[in-house]
Subunit: 518 residues, 2 copies
C-alpha cells in the first residue's frame, strides 16, 4: 500500500468505523511516520527479533528461561521503561515494566509470554532456536535469506522460523519496535503503560494466580490487553473477549508386566494399546462429539450479540479446508468460529509399542495417551476431572494417580493411571467494554478492513485471572498469522504480521485515550 | 538331578511312555554321557553361544546378517557337516547343511532361523548384542557374571541376555553342542540329518516359499523338526502340530496438512489420533472380541482329540497372571492353551504426536498404528485383508495403499493408508504323525515329566510350507523358556533350557530311528 492511499482510507475509515462520538485517533501524521520508520528499518527489526528468538525458551529450562527474562528487561530499559523481574518461587521470573506518560489519566496493561512450547527437534526442518528468515513459507519452497545479508525491504510474505516466533515473542518485539517508531516520530503514548511478560504460559501458568494476588496493586489498570494467539484466518486484525480454558491429563493403561510375544499370548494377554483405543473411543464418537456424561452441563449459552458477532466473522472454512487438505470437519461441520465456542477434547498423543520398521510382534507393557481439554464458560477444570473420572469408573476402571504396584495391577482388571495438569477455566466478558471500543477505534483508524470481534478465542489464555482475580477488564489482541504452526514444528511468523503488530501497538498507545468512550 | 536318579527314571519312563512297540532310545549310557559332557563344558558352551549372539542379526542389516550366515556355516563345518549357503535373490542366505549317517534309512530335517526381531535399543537394559550372563533373571535382580570369568558350573536359573538368545539362535547352539557331546560320547545319529537355517523369519519369511520350490529336492526328508518358539509355560518340554499364521498391516490416518494449535482448531479440525482410536476400537471390543464381519468365517473347528490334548495341557493361567501382573485375560477368560487356537488381532504399536513431558497442545498431521493378525486354520492372509478392507470401506474410509496426495485428502472425508506385510496361513496337522511319536518317545526317555503335545503353537512359523509345498510332515520342537521376552527388549534364554536343548537334540538324533513306529 502506498503512503498516499493509506492516508485516504485512514481518513475514510475513521469516519465510518470510529463513530461520531469518538475523536479519530491522534493524527494520520503519526501513523504515517510510524509506517515510514518501519519500512526504513525492516532489516534491523528482523535482526533484533532474531536475537531474541535465538534464546531457547522452554519454561522447564531454567538457565535459558532466565536469559530470556534478562534480555527482555534490557530491551524494555533501552526504551526508557522502568523494567524489572518479579520473582515468584519456583517459577520463571515475570518481566514487569512501567512507562508513565506525564498528564495521562488512564493506564493500560499489556500481557504477553516469553516462554514457548516444548519442541520435538526431529520434526523441525532446522533447529528451533536457529532463527531463519525464508522468503516464502517453508511448504511453498521458501528460500533462506541469511540474516547477515538482509535486503532493506523484506517481502511481506516472508516468514521468520523459530520457536515462539509467533507464540508469543512476536508481540514483545512489536511493542519494542512500536516504541522505537514513536520516538522517531516524536510522538508518545496517550496513556500510562504497564507490561507483564510471563515465562511459563506454555507450562499452564501454574504460578500466575499466586502472582496476581501478590502483585495485585502493581497491576492496577483501567484495562489490560492480552497479546497472544493468532489473528483471524482471513488475515484480518482481530480482538477477542474471552478464551477457552484448559486442563490436561496423561493416561496410562497397563498390559503384561513384561513384553510378550504377540503370537504366544495374543488374544489372551490384554493388549494395552487396544484398551487405550477403546478408552479413547469411549470419550468421543467418530464425529468428535464428546460422550462423557455431564461434561457439558456447565456450558453457558452464547448471547444473541455473541452469536451475531460470530455470524459477522469472515467465513474461512472453505479456505482452511483447502489449505489444510481436510475432507471434513468435526462438530457436525459447524463453522470454525462457532465450533471453538464449544468444549473440545483433543488427543495430543498416543504412544504404544512401535510402528513401521520398528514395529515388533509383541504385546506392550503399557499404553500412554495425552489429552488436552478446552473448556468454555462456565466449565471448570475440577468438574471436567470429576466427570472424566466418574465415566472411567463406570466403565470398570480402577483409577490411580501414581504408578500402580504389580499387586494393584493383579487385583484390578482395568487399571488406569491419570496425571492431571493444573488447568484453569475459560472467560468470556462483555463485548461492550470501553477499552474494546477504544482499541477497535484506534486499530480501525489504520485498517482498510473491518476488525474481527470474536466472543471467544479458541486457544487458552488465563483471562479469568483478570476478570476474576484482578477484577479488571481484559481483551485479547493477537498479532500472529493463523498459519504459524503454533505449538508444532516449524513455528513461524509472517513478516507482514510483525509490521502490522508494530503499527497496531503504535496506534493503540497513542490513540486509545482519545478513542475512549465518553 | 543326580546321575544315578536320572538313570532310574529314564528306565522307568521308557517303560511307561514309549510303549511296548517302541524300543527305548539308543541307551541310557549315551544319554548319561551327553549329560556329563554338558556339565563339564558349561562355561565353554556359554562362551561359544555368546560369540554367536554378539553378531547383530536384523534381517534388513545385510552386512551383519551375512556375518551370521558365515559364522553358522563355520560352526556346522567344524562338526563334520557338509555346510553351505543357499543363495536367494534379495534375501539373507539360507544356511544349509547335511550330516549323513552310514546305513541310515531315514532323514530328519531341522529348521531354525538365525535372524532376530528389530530392536528398540532404548528399551534394553544393555545393548541387544552385548551378550550378558546374569545369575538370575533381570527383573529378579540378576547380577552379571563376566563371560571371561565364568564358573565351571552355571546356575540353572541363570539367563543369557541378547537379541535371539532364545528366538531363534538357541536351537542352533543346542544342535552344535549336541553333536559335540555325541562325538565325545562316541555315539552318532541314527538318521541322516539336514539343517536349514533361515535369515529372515522375523521379517515374515518373504522368500521362503520360493526357496522351498527351488530347493524342493534338496529338502526331501521323512520329516522335519521346526525348532522355534518357547516350551510350555509349566517349563515342561513340548512339541506342537501346527502354528498360527500371520499377516500385518501398517495403518495411517490423516489430520490437517500442518500441525495445528489444539485450542484454535480443536473440535473443528479432525484429530487423527482420535480417529485412530475410533478405527482400532471398531476392530475389537473391550474384551478383545474381533468385530470384523466375516473375519472368522474360515476358522476350522478343533477335533475331539485336539480338544482333548488342550485339556491335558498343564493349567498355567493362574501362574501366568501372577507372573505377568494381570487382573484379567481377553477371549472371555479362555485358558491360554485354548485361546491361542483362536484368531488374534494384536495392536503392535500406535504413534500419534507426543505424550508426557513432550506432549504439545497440538493436533497432529497423522496417526499411525501397526497391527499383526494371528491366523488359525483355515484362515488365509488374503481373506483377512479382504474382510479388513471391506469393513473400513463400510465405515466410510477411502483406502489407499500409498501416500495419499493432498488432493485425495481433500476429496475424501476419511482417508486411510494400508501397507500390508506378506503374511502366510496357519497349519495344523494330525497329532498321529510317526515322526511325532518317535520324537516324543526319544524325549520322553530322558524326561521325568510328560511331554506337552499342543495342537497349535500360538506364535507363527510357516509350517504350511512343509505341509503344503514340500508335502513333508513337520512338527514343532521348541527349546526356549516361555519367559524369554521374545520379540521385546531384554530377550533372554534360561540356562537350563539350553542344557535341555542339547540333551533333547542328542536324544532325538540317536533315538528317533529306533523309536519310529513300525
Amino acid at each position: 500500500m502506498s503512503k498516499q492511499s493509506r492516508v485516504v482510507h485512514v481518513i475514510c475509515l475513521a469516519l465510518v468505523w470510529t463513530g461520531a462520538a469518538m475523536a479519530p485517533y491522534a493524527n494520520a501524521q503519526t501513523s504515517n511516520a510510524v509506517h515510514a520508520w518501519r519500512a526504513q528499518h525492516e532489516a534491523d527489526i528482523v535482526r533484533q527479533f532474531a536475537d531474541l528468538l535465538s534464546l531457547p525458551n522452554v519454561a522447564s529450562d531454567k538457565a535459558n528461561i532466565q536469559r530470556n527474562a534478562d534480555r527482555i528487561v534490557e530491551l524494555l530499559a533501552a526504551r526508557g521503561i522502568e523494567a524489572r523481574q518479579l520473582p515468584e518461587a519456583g517459577a520463571p521470573p515475570i518481566v514487569y515494566g512501567e512507562l508513565k506518560t506525564p498528564g495521562a489519566t488512564r493506564t493500560i496493561g499489556i500481557y504477553a509470554h516469553y516462554d514457548g512450547q516444548p519442541v520435538d527437534t526431529s520434526q523441525w526442518a532446522s533447529p528451533p532456536w536457529r532463527v531463519r528468515l525464508l522468503d516464502a513459507p517453508l511448504d511453498q519452497g521458501g528460500k533462506e535469506v541469511p540474516l547477515s545479508a538482509l535486503p532493506a525491504r523484506i517481502p511481506a510474505e516472508a516468514r521468520i522460523y523459530a520457536r515462539s516466533a509467533s507464540d508469543d515473542k512476536a508481540p514483545i518485539q512489536a511493542i519494542v519496535s512500536a516504541l522505537d517508531a514513536l520516538k522517531a516520530a516524536g510522538a508518545r503514548p496517550s496513556v500510562n503503560l504497564k507490561f507483564f511478560f510471563e515465562g511459563e504460559e506454555e507450562a499452564g501458568s501454574p504460578h500466575l494466580p499466586e502472582a496476581f494476588k501478590q502483585y495485585r496493586d502493581l497491576l492496577a489498570a483501567d484495562a489490560w490487553l492480552l497479546c497472544d494467539g493468532p489473528v483471524h484466518q482471513s488475515r484480518r486484525w482481530q480482538i477477542h473477549f474471552g478464551a477457552r480454558g484448559i486442563t490436561d491429563v496423561e493416561v496410562t493403561l497397563y498390559g503384561p508386566a513384561r513384553v510378550l510375544h504377540s503370537g504366544h499370548y495374543g488374544n489372551w494377554a490384554p493388549n494395552p494399546g487396544a484398551q487405550m483405543a477403546n478408552l479413547l473411543a469411549s470419550l468421543r464418537d467418530r464425529n468428535g462429539k464428546i460422550l462423557i456424561p455431564g461434561y457439558s452441563d456447565q456450558v453457558r449459552p452464547l448471547t444473541a450479540s455473541e452469536q451475531g458477532a460470530i455470524k459477522a466473522m469472515p467465513d474461512v472454512d472453505a479456505q482452511l479446508k483447502q489449505e489444510l487438505a481436510l475432507g471434513w470437519t468435526e462438530d457436525e461441520g459447524e463453522p470454525l468460529g462457532m465450533a471453538i465456542t464449544h468444549p473440545a477434547l483433543n488427543i495430543r498423543g498416543i504412544q504404544v509399542g512401535n510402528v513401521g520398521n520398528k514395529s515388533q510382534n509383541a504385546i506392550s507393557t503399557e499404553a500412554r495417551a495425552s489429552i488436552d481439554f478446552r473448556l468454555v464458560p462456565d466449565q471448570t477444570p475440577e468438574r471436567v476431572r470429576q466427570t472424566f473420572e466418574a465415566f472411567l469408573t463406570k466403565q470398570g476402571y480402577w483409577i490411580t494417580h501414581k504408578e500402580p504396584t504389580l499387586d494393584e495391577r493383579r487385583q484390578h482388571a482395568r487399571v488406569v493411571r491419570l496425571e492431571w495438569g493444573p488447568g484453569y477455566p475459560a472467560a468470556r466478558t462483555s463485548m461492550d467494554l470501553p477499552v474494546a471500543k477504544a482499541v477497535v477505534a484506534s486499530m480501525q483508524a489504520i485498517s482498510k478492513d473491518q476488525i474481527v470481534q470474536a466472543p471467544l478465542l479458541g486457544g487458552s489464555v488465563p483471562m479469568y485471572l483478570w476478570t476474576d482475580v484482578l477484577k479488571v477488564p481484559v481483551i485479547g489482541l493477537p498479532i500472529a498469522n493463523h498459519d504459524n504452526n503454533q505449538h508444532g514444528a516449524n513455528e513461524n511468523l509472517r513478516i507482514q504480521n510483525l509490521w502490522d503488530g508494530i503499527e497496531i501497538f503504535a496506534a493503540i498507545f497513542t490513540g486509545v485515550d482519545g478513542n475512549w468512550p465518553k
